[in-house]
Amino acid sequence: MADVLVVAELADGQIRKTTLSAITMAKAAAAVLGGGFDILVIGGPGAKAAAAGATAFGAGKVLVAEDAGLTDYVAERYAPTVADVGKGYGLICATASSYGKDLIPRVAGRLEAAFAGDCAGVSDAGGKIAYKRPMFAGNAFGTCTLNTAIQTATARQSEFEPAAESGGASPISDVTATAPSGAAERVEFVSLEQVKSERPELGEASTVVSGGRALKEEFFKVLEPLVDVLGSALGASRAACDAGYAPGDYQVGQTGKIVAPDLYFAIGISGAIQHVAGMKSSKTIVAINKDPDAPIFQIADYGLVADLFQAVPELVEALKAKKAAG
């Protein structure tokens, strides 16, 4: 019997919603191991206050490592503490956000633990955790077991429902941050520039509008009205990001954000394999493209062959009219 440790992610002094997917993974993994799960909240001053937001999910305890040296996240300063706290657990997991992807394999290296990244599910393989992982841009799934005593994994956010609060109050206890090793002395945090947006985050939105290279410099001009009327998140194909029409972190795809909203609009996106890998689990997919043979139409529930520069404004007007009519 072993327990599972969830490494929470903090943003603006609160537990980031991404963490809730890792909690769901931890519950499933703990059921396999016949144990429970704890949550580690790690960060600078304020971490302890944030930990209050993690006590209602059924964790055995919420551990807090609050230390001034952990104020700005860098993996070299976080990994030693996560590894020391995680030593007694069967699995250490986080969500595969840019934070989890950066930190967890580093923790794995420290503990000589095997690592399963970006998992889509966990199940029971004769008392061992079986990790189901998307591979080859989502064109295959492989299920693996790991044979190290401590295991590490990240959860694909779109594949694990965010855990709901189940009531109760997990006790909070402090843990001491581990002094970092030599690597930490050779890394300096310079800045974190984040674009504050009123729109929902890509990984969490129920509707996503993504645009491709066809939008050119009019990417925002054309898509923003649609995003506003839908209240959706805004994404982009890799080609649009590559070309500089959209920022890099807008990228939806195998190597960008993986999304699975209720409704996904692919606007001027051809449907390259690596883009499809990031959105094909969406419930309803709409494609607007002027090329009737674009591969995106093969996976779209509703395809509209049209010039997007005409069709999108028309769609905005139609949605506005529908809204006004109630």
Partner: protein, 273 residues
């Protein structure tokens, strides 16, 4: 400056939907081997860091590429050598004896011997999609790392790296020796500057291609071969894969006539708006 670049060959990612999935394996027969795209970007970044952008034929320092695999992966190494790398290291093994943790341990041994200033990885290989080896290597060596790099600027004894993170960019300064893993925008025209390259210089977009004379010359560049057992430090494969499966296919959709028909379908059929 000396830079090591880790490369992996992958089945043609542009045709990843043609892999044949059976419960026992993912069969890539018929797909061409390519350098993992992110590793190509890592190599391009290493080349940019070891040159004056105006004189790309003159290497200021050394770029060494390394990989793990059977003899035939030397084709992949040769193409990297033709692009500008100076020499190569191959750790001999079959593809199926490997997992991320074992690869990280074997590379750590080579890196400790080679003592480069920096090691550059692609952020992930697009076959396994695990995204972990670079981070593990950095920890095994107790080196700092900057993952998902979009830009790199060389300074005296350090690199200033801007990283793609959720919601924006995070900038770190890592002192040598350090590990960098690169994201896709690292090959944009103004992404990487060595100390020698004028800040006004703009590279052409993407990775460079090998010229024919360079391809001929690459045949003579050295490839060192090492045994997996000598580099793995006793670590054995730690992940066992079984039960491969293809994703569920999506039901075929319909084409709609116009915007009005689309809105009608979304409202009344999909009930999505």
């Amino acid at each position: 400056m000396k830079i090591l670049v880790a490369l992996k060959r992958v089945a043609d990612p542009d045709n990843a939907n043609k892999v044949k999935v059976s419960p026992e394996k993912i069969d890539t027969t018929g797909l061409e081997w390519k350098i993992n795209p992110f590793d190509e970007y890592a190599l391009e970044a290493a080349l940019r860091l070891t040159e004056d952008g105006k004189k790309p034929k003159k290497r200021e320092g050394e770029v060494v590429v390394m990989t793990l695999g059977p003899k035939e992966v030397e084709t992949t190494l040769r193409s990297a050598l033709a692009t500008g790398a100076d020499r190569a290291i191959r750790i001999d093994c079959t593809d199926d004896e490997l997992d991320g943790r074992l690869v990280a341990n074997a590379l750590k041994t080579v890196i400790a011997e080679e003592k480069p200033d920096y090691v550059i990885f692609g952020k992930q290989a697009v076959d396994g999609d695990n995204n972990g080896v670079g981070q593990m290597v950095a920890e095994l060596l107790d080196w700092p790392m900057a993952t998902f790099a979009a830009t790199i600027q060389e300074e005296d004894g350090s690199l200033l790296v801007s990283r793609e993170v959720d919601g924006g960019m995070c900038t770190l300064r890592v002192k040598t020796p350090a590990v960098v893993t690169v994201d896709l925008r690292i090959v944009a025209p103004e992404s990487v500057y060595s100390k020698l390259t004028d800040k006004a210089h703009k590279y052409s977009d993407g990775v460079r291609f090998a010229a024919l004379p360079a391809i001929m010359k690459a045949k003579k560049k050295p490839i060192d071969v090492k045994a997996l057992a000598d580099t793995a430090g006793g670590v054995t494969i730690g992940s066992n894969y079984a039960n491969f499966e293809a994703p569920a296919a999506r039901a075929a959709g319909v084409k709609v006539e116009d915007v009005a028909a689309l809105v009608d379908k979304l409202a009344n059929e999909a009930k999505a708006i």
